[in-house]
């Protein structure tokens, strides 16, 4: 039960974070979305064995969190929820790829190297997406997607799903609370009640969602989610995208950690 209540607060926590005021928050939502998209595309374009070369990509999420004054704990907590999925995606590689490869002069199982690469790429991409949400808010992201000419039906789907998650969680919290108050000694939910409870939650959520939708229709909603007018992008926004884009491209073209390492060891020699 507390887990569900926490989940509701966690979801709303992102909206709260997005309302803060910082350099990152003041940037145009489109600039932040574009920078994140370029980041993700460049990140996944790396070779499957890439690990050391990915290190410079840690800088972007760290910068976003620091400049946006986003606390690390909520982001890391959500990242932990996603981590099992990322691990599942990469887990079969050590089993099927039995070959070896050399990294930093050491011989290593190539399957494990791919696994590590997938975990790094996945974690960085998810952390950056979470930071985009925490600094831009779902409304800002939706606005940017529409600017990028993403069909309104997809944007609407995204927005309504996001809104209805809290409706679903609230109904689930109420149902489970009323069960817990009458299931004195039993721990958790008995298996026999899973079906009826799930059905109840579904029916109540559908009713509630219908009322929310009716309220929207009565205020002129006709399929387009109007979020307001975004401010005009400034030169700062343009420079933000270009600056990060250049840095990502440079990090993709040159293995920066290796180059720096060689530079330093060369200087020592």
């Amino acid at each position: 039960m507390p887990n569900i209540v926490n989940a509701i607060y966690n979801i709303r926590g992102f909206d709260e974070l997005a309302r803060q005021d910082s350099f990152i928050h003041r940037l145009h939502p489109l600039a932040k979305l574009l920078a994140t998209l370029v980041y993700t595309v460049v990140l996944v374009s790396f070779d499957k064995y890439a690990t050391i070369a990915l290190l410079p990509f840690l800088f972007f999420p760290v910068f976003m969190a620091a400049a946006g004054r986003i606390p690390a704990v909520p982001i890391l907590k959500r990242l932990l929820y996603i981590e099992p999925m990322i691990i599942c995606v990469g887990l079969l590689n050590p089993l099927f790829d039995r070959g070896t490869t050399s990294i930093l002069g050491q011989t290593m199982s190539s399957g494990w190297l791919i696994f590590i690469s997938i975990v790094i790429k996945g974690s960085l991409a998810v952390a950056t997406a979470l930071l985009l949400m925490a600094t831009t808010g779902m409304d800002g992201i939706a606005l940017s997607l529409r600017k990028l000419k993403v069909p309104k039906i997809f944007v609407l789907q995204l927005m309504l799903t996001y809104r209805y998650i809290s409706v679903l969680l609230e109904e689930a919290a109420r149902t489970i609370q009323s069960y817990a108050l009458r299931a004195f000694s039993s721990k958790g939910l008995k298996r026999e009640v899973w079906g009826p409870l799930l059905g109840q939650i579904l029916l109540r959520t559908m009713d509630r969602a219908q009322r929310v939708y009716d309220a929207m229709c009565l205020r002129g909603f006709a399929g387009e989610y109007h979020i307001g007018k975004a401010p005009r992008p400034s030169w700062g926004d343009f420079l933000y995208v270009m600056g990060w884009g250049t840095l990502f491209a440079a990090s993709r073209a040159v293995n920066l950690p290796l180059w720096l390492g060689n530079l330093l060891t060369g200087a020592v020699k």
Partner: protein, 255 residues
């Protein structure tokens, strides 16, 4: 002022499970009137409001708003004239800030952002919650949520305000504040409620419903003081009209 007339003509509605919720209701509400719709639980009040706003389609009969019949084609136009405040404000407030919730309607009317801002500020001022505009709706108290829900409807500049149980779950102070706000509006008001004292104070006319039918329609004071009628409808006369619980003297005696 015929454009503000709300008319129900022999309305019938049957739910898919066969329950007859509204059975032949007719009334005509004029511009600026405040009408209370009262009745016991399950009398059909909320269904009637949903029929008036076009959320439900009547099985028989018709709704006419300002001489325009409510049909699929006229629905959007008519909804611009009607503002409905739901019983549970959480159903109505779904944006991330009060400001965005109040702006939701005007933005759907495709007004430019300056006009939207003007309407939002004006609506928030009318209900006295301008200071809450940047707050998240779920952080507000029940009274503040109700005021925000009303503001979200006022920003559409409706001619007719429809309120479903506006004082439910409010503490006495918030209830009094809300009543003061509502009494200041010149809109046509249609209010369903079990708070009969509020109905007595805000409405000049009352329609009593029972089993989906209107069993009485007339001046609020006449209806709400009619003990036999109220008991027949499963209601009681308003508390403010009861005698003193200590000495038994009626209010009229004291006056």
């Amino acid at each position: 002022m015929s454009h503000h007339i709300t008319e129900a003509r022999d309305l019938f509605y049957v739910y898919p499970d066969g329950r007859q919720a509204v059975s032949g209701i007719s009334f005509r509400i004029h511009h600026g009137e405040s009408v209370g719709i009262i009745g016991a639980n399950g009398a059909g009040k909320s269904t009637l409001l949903m029929l008036l706003t076009g959320i439900l389609r009547p099985a028989k009969g018709e709704v006419v708003i300002g001489e325009v019949r409510l049909t699929k084609d006229t629905l959007n136009m008519i909804r611009q004239r009607l503002g409905m405040v739901f019983q549970n404000p959480d159903d109505q407030l779904f944006m991330t800030t009060v400001h965005d919730d109040v702006a939701f309607g005007p933005r759907n009317l495709m007004l430019d952002e300056a006009q939207v801002e003007e309407r939002v500020i004006s609506a928030l001022e009318k209900v006295g919650i301008s200071h809450l505009k940047d707050r998240a709706p779920y952080h507000l108290s029940a009274g503040e949520k109700r005021a925000a829900a009303i503001a979200s409807v006022l920003s559409m500049s409706p001619d007719i305000l429809i309120l479903d149980e506006p004082t439910s779950s409010l503490d006495p102070k918030s209830r009094r504040r809300l009543m003061k706000i509502l009494s200041g509006f010149e809109h046509t008001k249609i209010i369903t409620s079990h708070d009969l004292d509020m109905v007595l104070e805000l409405c000049q006319r009352v329609i009593v419903m029972k089993d989906g039918r209107a069993i009485a329609d007339g001046p609020a004071k006449d209806i709400l003081t009619n003990k036999t009628l109220m008991e027949e409808a499963g209601l009681e006369i308003p508390l403010s009209l009861h005698g003193c619980p200590v000495c038994g003297r009626s209010k009229s005696d004291a006056d």
